[in-house]
């Protein structure tokens, strides 16, 4: 501890450790939020595919029965 540089370096290193801990915690919360978002997106994706499939099947049905009419 005699050298002033060593003192300063230890000081800066302790601040670095604190910042890294906070950063780690924030990254963990970010990961959780992203996991929630991913789950919701999967649900929405499923709903969208269901709607698309329903649309395709209705179009096929109308084409098969011959009831398909052109748009106005």
């Amino acid at each position: 501890m005699e050298n002033p540089f060593e003192r300063q370096q230890k000081n800066i290193l302790s601040r670095i450790i604190v910042n890294v801990e906070r950063l780690n915690q924030s990254v963990i919360t970010l990961n959780q939020e992203l996991a929630n978002v991913n789950k919701k997106n999967k649900n929405i994706e499923i709903i969208g595919q269901i709607c698309e499939n329903y649309h395709n099947s209705t179009q096929f049905n109308l084409d098969a029965t011959g009831n398909r009419k052109p748009p106005f």
Partner: protein, 238 residues
């Protein structure tokens, strides 16, 4: 020589200064990352999740509509393993038989566990790819439930694989026992049934093949209720 030492010392001091400067920049970068994440990114993601929630709330009409039509449960939200979240669309067990006509071929619905309803009133569930065991189980169930009993097995998720082989075999055995009991009660005369019946009876008790030698001896030895229905002809000989 002391000049060299002085030069060396100056170099060391210069290097020390550079080290502290580098450490300072490292610290500032870390703090900058932390600030960016907590102040900008996490709130942005939270706003996005709020919008997604509103979307799901507004499309709840469609979800309930398709759930009721297909006897599904969408958006099951089950955590599996290490935070790998997968939604499951499982099928409920249906009520007593529902007879509906076959709709237009749902070729586009093959990705999901929809209830394909045949004209005979039996509800077959065609699981999608890589579920051959469930297909065989369903095929066996439809053969054995010739009386019009429609029972559907709950399906697993779309995304995950089937890991309930023991439960399916248990269900198969239960259904076979149920079919046996029904045959005993009603003395069914349908053509599809004798084959599963003879499967679980001992071969000596079969009276469809009129072999006069074996059944009388078996009738004397075994006096079960199940044999009384089958060994009608053998009772005359005994």
């Amino acid at each position: 020589m002391p000049e060299q030492e002085q030069v060396v010392e100056k170099e060391i001091e210069k290097l020390d200064q550079e080290i502290t400067l580098r450490l300072q920049t490292i610290d500032s970068n870390f703090s900058y990352c932390f600030r960016k994440i907590t102040q900008d990114i996490i709130p942005h993601v939270r706003r996005y999740s709020d919008v997604c929630d509103r979307i799901i709330d507004n499309t709840a009409v469609l979800t309930t509509l398709f759930q009721e039509s297909g006897n599904l449960t969408l958006n099951h939200d089950s955590n599996e393993g290490d935070d790998s979240i997968a939604e499951t669309a499982t099928a409920k067990k249906t009520d007593p038989p529902v007879k509906t006509t076959a709709t237009a071929p749902d070729t586009t619905m093959q990705e999901y566990h929809t209830a394909n309803i045949t004209s005979t009133g039996q509800i077959l569930q065609l699981p999608d790819s890589s579920d051959d065991e469930d297909e065989d189980a369903d095929a066996e169930d439809t053969h054995q439930n010739g009386d019009g009993i429609t029972t559907t097995e709950p399906q697993d998720s779309i995304m995950t694989d089937n890991t309930h082989d023991d439960s399916t075999t248990q269900r198969q055995s239960r259904k076979r026992k149920v079919s046996l009991l029904l045959q005993q009660e009603y003395g069914s005369s349908s053509s599809a049934l004798p084959s599963p019946v003879t499967k679980y009876k001992k071969h000596s008790h079969s009276t469809t093949d009129s072999s006069p030698l074996k059944p009388p001896q078996a009738a004397e030895d075994h006096h079960d209720d199940t044999n009384d229905l089958l060994n009608v002809d053998s009772s005359q000989s005994s």
